[in-house]
């Protein structure tokens, strides 16, 4: 039963990523060129509501379904891993023009080439796992 809910959320998210054009390489390039408000409006309005909603959840200690705690764990403190990891991610985001969510969406849209990008992303994840203990965090 729960699986169906996640499937529906996924379908909704997929349509949303495609229709918002957040899954378009062109929109990502345009964003990094500061050529339009579109992507900033999407992230900004999501954040505006996200910050308000998250603070209300915390203030009133609202529980998830079944009474479990909301998944709002604070992130581990560090600068290096976020700055270096984030920069590497940004290089890839601007080159492939897709972040992980849209990659899956575009696979469904029929872009065969995105499978190569996903393959690269899996390889990158794997190599990180292998090198993890040698990298500054």
């Amino acid at each position: 039963m729960k699986s169906i809910i996640y499937l529906i959320v996924g379908v909704f998210f997929g349509i949303l990523m495609y229709k918002s054009e957040a899954a378009s390489w062109f929109r990502i390039y345009e964003m990094f060129e500061f050529g339009a408000f579109h992507m900033y409006g999407i992230i900004g309005s999501a954040l505006f509501l996200g910050v308000i909603g998250t603070s209300l959840i915390k203030k009133f200690d609202i529980k998830a379904l079944g009474g479990q705690e909301m998944q709002l764990k604070p992130k581990d403190k560090s600068i290096a891993r976020y700055l270096v990891g984030g920069t590497i991610f940004g290089l890839g985001w601007a080159l492939a023009g897709a972040c992980p969510g849209p990659m899956y969406v575009l696979a469904g849209s029929g872009y065969v080439s995105i499978l190569i990008v996903i393959g690269g992303a899996l390889l990158g994840t794997f190599v990180y796992g292998v090198l993890k203990n040698k990298l500054p965090h």
Partner: protein
């Protein structure tokens, strides 16, 4: 009926992304798409090589189902809900034309990079593999991607997420300003 094919404006899309995040929170989950890549590695047996992939991946089943849903969503949107043409800023489009990307304003993704025929070009193949690799490596190093940091993390006012998002932009700006001219110039 034409409006069905129109893109959704930011003030519809952004709030719906927030809605997605809150629905997942209420279901007891955290919105994060790149963790599925780690799960996929774990399923593929990467735990033999690194402890990073030794975890109870079955607990991530919900997220894999979400991915399956988003693949279906991508199919529905591209085939029934879109004319698959993205209109961007004219000046930006002209700059892309000067890079040899002529499909601007007429496609959803640049055909010069994403058409199946272009796969025979080693340069295109390198762009796709390296781009994907950096996304996968960087997302795990930074502990999250756009959904985990830029949306969930910043909504929770996490300083680490702000640092990561600043990194996303440093990387993106370096790529399009310094590396694009080398690749496409």
């Amino acid at each position: 009926m034409e409006f069905i094919y129109e893109p959704w404006p930011w003030y519809v899309s952004g709030p719906l992304i927030a809605l997605t995040m809150f629905v997942l929170l209420f279901l007891g989950k955290q919105f994060g798409m790149s963790s599925n890549l780690r799960t996929a590695c774990a399923i593929g047996g990467a735990g033999k090589v690194s402890d990073f992939f030794k975890f109870d991946w079955k607990s991530q089943r919900w997220n894999l189902i979400l991915v399956l849903g988003s693949v279906i969503g991508g199919f529905i949107a591209a085939n029934y809900l879109s004319n698959n043409k993205v209109k961007i800023n004219e000046d930006v489009a002209l700059k892309l034309n000067s890079y040899g990307i002529e499909s601007t304003q007429q496609a959803y993704l640049p055909t010069e990079i994403f058409s199946t025929e272009s796969l025979s070009d080693p340069k295109v193949l390198a762009i796709l593999i390296v781009g994907g690799f950096l996304v996968g490596f960087g997302a795990r190093y930074a502990g999250g991607c756009t959904s985990g940091h830029a949306i969930s993390g910043l909504s929770n006012l996490q300083l680490p997420s702000l640092i990561a998002v600043i990194g996303f932009f440093i990387g993106g700006l370096v790529m399009i300003n310094f590396i694009y001219p080398l690749i496409f110039g």
